[in-house]
């Protein structure tokens, strides 16, 4: 008998963010367990309420980032659970796995309809580790269990990837806007297609895409690395950076939540764990 919703965090050989991801899920009022890629039965028996594919380098990015993990048997289970409406979040390498699994954009079941290509934008290519700003799209705020609490303003979250540029087939471009969940923007929420606001040349400045139902979200930035206010650098512009600066030398810095927490609080709200005031 579960007291709290269980969020399964999947660990592939080469995942490296599973422990902090599981930790922030627990900090958000839910249970979390880490399941290895070969614990198909244990995962199935646990009947998780949601799934997270954390960041890292699953299978050392061999062949292509995310593609070998996407073929693992455990992803069949995730695929079926996603089809039944359970929330699924892929962070960074997890997003690459979701794309290579055909779970997002998911216009046609299991069809590979997108790629996370190597970063490529005028002024920058290759691996990129920096803070960026994100803004959620209106429909995504409404339908995604991961975004309900994000609100309309820009939030700072770090990225760390070499292959984060969402691309699509020419014949699908007309429907990409429907899967747009989060876009890169400046601290005022204004989108531009130029580096560094769009850090990797992603189509339509996309930082995250979702399936048509909204329950599966593939997200390149790392919200678990912006969960606590102490994780935010004071020099980040905007209200979050100002708040961080104001907490310098304040004991509250150790416990105050940061912008990344909004993703996990959204899920807690989706499961009905928040009071009316918190919502």
């Amino acid at each position: 008998m579960k007291n709290r919703p269980l969020v399964a965090v999947l660990q592939f050989p080469g995942s490296n963010c599973e422990y902090e991801t599981a930790s922030v899920v627990r900090e958000s009022g839910m249970d979390s367990l880490i399941f290895r890629w070969n614990q198909w039965k244990e995962l199935s028996d646990s009947a998780p309420d949601a799934f997270i594919l954390p960041g890292g380098f699953a299978f050392q990015d061999r062949v292509r980032a995310g593609t070998v993990a996407a073929k693992e048997e455990i992803m069949d289970l995730v695929f079926n659970q996603a089809q039944s409406g359970k929330p699924v979040l892929g962070i960074c390498n997890g997003a690459q796995i979701l794309v290579e699994s055909g779970l997002v954009p998911g216009w046609e079941n299991g069809r590979i309809e997108s790629a996370l290509a190597a970063n490529h934008i005028h002024g920058r290519s290759g691996y990129l580790s920096r803070w960026v700003f994100l803004r959620a799209k209106k429909r995504a705020l409404r339908v995604s269990p991961w975004l309900g609490m994000i609100g309309n303003s820009a939030i700072p979250v770090p990225i760390a990837h070499a292959e984060g540029r969402f691309v699509f087939a020419e014949e699908d471009l007309h429907r990409v806007s429907k899967c747009a969940a989060l876009v890169y923007c400046d601290e005022n929420g204004v989108e531009t297609a130029d580096y560094p606001v769009n850090p990797n040349g992603s189509f339509m400045n996309l930082a995250g895409i979702m399936n048509k139902e909204g329950n599966v979200l593939a997200l390149m930035p790392h919200p678990e690395r912006a969960f606590w206010m102490w994780q935010i650098p004071p020099w980040v512009p905007g209200v979050w950076g100002d708040r961080r600066t104001s907490l310098n030398h304040d004991p509250a810095l150790a416990v105050e939540k940061g912008p990344g927490e909004l993703f996990f609080r959204s899920l807690a709200g989706y499961f009905g764990l928040l009071s009316r005031e918190e919502v």
């Binding site: 062949v63 292509r64 593609t67 290579e100 055909g102 590979i112 290509a117 190597a118 290519s125």
Partner: protein
């Protein structure tokens, strides 16, 4: 000479090729190859000085060929590099990123270093060895099916949304 190509491979077994082969065996046991090899494949477009220039580049830049762990050969001089198993029917497929910063960066590096090369193009070359008795046509058909990732259950070696795929002429 309009183009000189080289193929570079690890002296030790290639872990990416081993992982790819074990994955293919699991997801497509009926059509899977017996052997799979992976090479870095570099095309030097319009090299002034032809192969001599390319040899100089290879010996100068250990990021292209690290002699401690890799071996290489010109692609038109096969045999020295390939583990030719005469019992198998071999196919070759070239996978190239549609937008490729590796190629762009190396073109710029060679230009800065005064090498006479118009352009460098980087790809991954996969060689698939099928059981003897497999017809060339069947081997080529299987190669494409195993390469082009069109569906979560089909293909592995390339994502056609972001990569170009060229099946090379029969070996």
């Amino acid at each position: 000479m309009t183009e000189v190509s080289i193929a570079v491979r690890l002296k030790a077994p290639d872990p990416a090729a081993m992982t790819a082969l074990s994955t293919l065996k699991r997801i497509n046991p009926a059509t899977c190859p017996c052997s799979l090899e992976r090479y870095d494949y570099w095309r030097f477009i319009k090299p002034g000085g032809g192969k001599v220039t390319v040899e100089k580049i290879v010996s100068h830049f250990h990021d292209i060929v690290n002699p401690n762990k890799q071996s290489w050969s010109f692609s038109d001089e096969s045999g020295s590099l390939h583990s030719w198993d005469e019992e198998l029917v071999w196919t070759e497929v070239l996978v190239t990123d549609k937008v490729d910063s590796i190629s762009e960066n190396w073109t710029e590096i060679l230009r800065r270093n005064k090498y006479e090369v118009e352009r460098v193009m980087y790809s991954v070359l996969w060689r698939l060895g099928f059981p003897s008795g497999t017809s060339i046509a069947d081997a080529r058909e299987r190669t494409l099916a195993l390469t082009v990732t069109s569906h979560r259950d089909h293909g592995l070696l390339a994502n056609p949304i972001s990569q170009n795929i060229s099946l090379l002429d029969p070996v």
